[in-house]
Symmetry: C2
Subunit: 342 residues, 2 copies
């Protein structure tokens, strides 16, 4: 199918046609074949005017925190409110094992069967940056198809959360009421980027959940000070990260959670931060892709490939300074082009 036909199916097809067009479009965008990539770029450019109207919600949490249960409860709640919900994932483990521990449709049995929900597992090969690129492009496909809430979920060790935060309007961290879990999140730099922290399984031990809420609230306050108490003044036009307790299993607190999300969205729209965040994300994304492309071209360059093993061995053995080796290798990459020009 041509990019135009795919777009037509996504925009105007009935439910079955639309779903098929979305899956074909995402598969096209995931392909690494050069001709597919050219078609994919054409599709993306055609798609873009139809994107951007969804709310992009990032959700993260360690295994066992109850992400699937929470996202299913949230998704069904949102569909009940008239929304259409897409769930995408960035699963760093899938790039190693080829199998995804997230995004498995059987995890969200009720949601995945609903015609107003679209669930797509994580791409299963490439670097984290490459996987995140595919997820970001899949998000644009979902938006063009009229899904107005796109949830991007991840589990990871800091890097994948940063990637999800770099493509969503709001970043939510799911936590359990366990001592020390908040320190782990701070260490990974995940607490710092959270717009909202959700304490799940609050029903199991109400006292522990309340202690965790106080602890995390205090941490968020300290982190937002950047070491300077004067920065901590309250400004009503700015969002201050919040903590809410829920029990996804019992379906408790989902409405309060969505009320907080809605409040965030209204505030960020009114103060212009939603638009500026998306603009910054797009530019950062472009540079991230450029960096990845430069590194790949460098490593594949014939002169570099020839020289690299010796340079690495010399640097490791202390026979040549790292900065000298870097200059030699950069020269090797550029010298062939110069020779060819002569």
């Amino acid at each position: 199918m041509s990019p135009g036909a795919l777009l037509e199916g996504m925009l105007h097809g009935n439910a079955a046609v639309q779903r098929r067009a979305m899956s074909k479009a995402i598969t096209l965008l995931e392909s690494t074949r050069a001709d597919h990539r050219a078609q994919g770029d054409e599709l993306l450019t055609q798609l873009l005017p139809h994107t951007g109207k969804a709310f992009r919600l990032g959700i993260s949490g360690v295994p066992g925190v109850g992400k699937s249960t929470f996202i299913e409860a949230l998704g069904l709640y949102l569909i009940g409110q008239g929304h259409r919900v897409a769930v995408l994932t960035i699963d760093p483990s899938s790039t190693v094992s080829g199998g995804s521990i997230l995004g498995d449709k059987t995890r969200m049995e009720h949601l995945s069967m609903h015609e107003k929900a679209y669930i797509r597992p994580s791409p299963s090969s490439g670097t984290l940056g490459g996987v995140a690129e595919k997820t970001r492009e899949a998000m644009l496909v979902c938006e063009a198809a009229g899904y107005d809430v796109v949830i991007v979920e991840t589990v990871g060790v800091g890097q994948s959360e940063i990637a999800v935060n770099g493509m969503t309007d709001m970043f939510v961290l799911l936590q359990l009421p366990n001592a020390g879990d908040d320190l782990q999140a701070i260490k990974k730099g995940v607490m710092e980027i959270a717009d909202l922290v959700v304490i799940n399984k609050a029903d199991i031990d109400k006292n522990a959940a309340t202690r965790a809420e106080a602890q995390i609230t205090s941490s968020l306050r300290i982190l937002s000070q950047h070491g300077n108490p004067e920065n901590a003044h309250h400004n009503e036009t700015l969002w201050h990260p919040k903590v809410v307790q829920i029990s996804a299993l019992l379906g408790q607190g989902v409405d309060a959670f969505w009320a907080a999300v809605t409040q965030f969205r209204q505030l960020q729209t009114a103060n212009g931060r939603l638009a500026s965040r998306r603009e910054k994300q797009a530019l950062a994304w472009m540079w991230e892709r450029i960096d990845a492309g430069l590194k790949l071209a460098f490593r594949q360059h014939p002169q570099v490939r020839q020289l690299l093993p010796q340079m690495q061995a010399d640097v490791a053995a202390g026979r040549i300074a790292a900065s000298t080796a870097a200059r030699n290798l950069l020269l090797a990459q550029s010298s062939q082009a110069q020779t060819a020009i002569k």
Copy 2:
């Protein structure tokens, strides 16, 4: 002076000749002129066999923590023990202001006057990566000149500490006994890389210092678990980060501090981690310099410079996908070379 003459002065000159040769060598290495850079590379390669015998100690802490006082006390103590001490700095603020808030010789009045000490302020221009490169090369000069303890100090917001950790054998974090300071350090990723945490000014409030020690010890234990208590088993051949209290102003605790450093050094030498850490650092350094070089060449490429403003505007306005723009720009860089080859 030729690289050979500089090296000769460093290795065999009297105190005055050596000091002059060191300063000239570091100035040569800091120069960005192409001919100087070639001479600098020659000097580095000649230097290398005479380096690596010093212990490389990284010291970090926020302004006001008492770094200068501590380093002066430590430096004088070490000279008393028969060592020769070099103090280098990485000051991220110097790359913005051109002036250094660290490395000012007047900060360490007694140490800077001592003939067995060599103090050199932070290079004052370039990116953090560029500044770190110069500091790393200056470290090699100091080692060749026979300084057997090289201290690299920094103050920053996380990035400069990572840079210092990437060039030293041991990373020490100076903290004040203030509530919340440990969370700031965890947030910046600095606590996580600390081999030793020093609580300075412990004399002012002994109770607060003891509370801070307990708090930081607990944080270090949790951080080292990586979320899994089973990883926290004690292994006597591995170093476990420690906390010590000192009062740099009163000169209290410097001997206990150095005893901990010595214990670390012996353990890391015996278990092979000191050597493997240096090898990894050198290779990481090479790749960091390659990445910086690739980015610079990209941004300076005529076709890229011509296309970039339009691409950035289109991406920011949502007229073109970030990944498409990245591919266009990468193509622009490579197409000129191809055209020239034809």
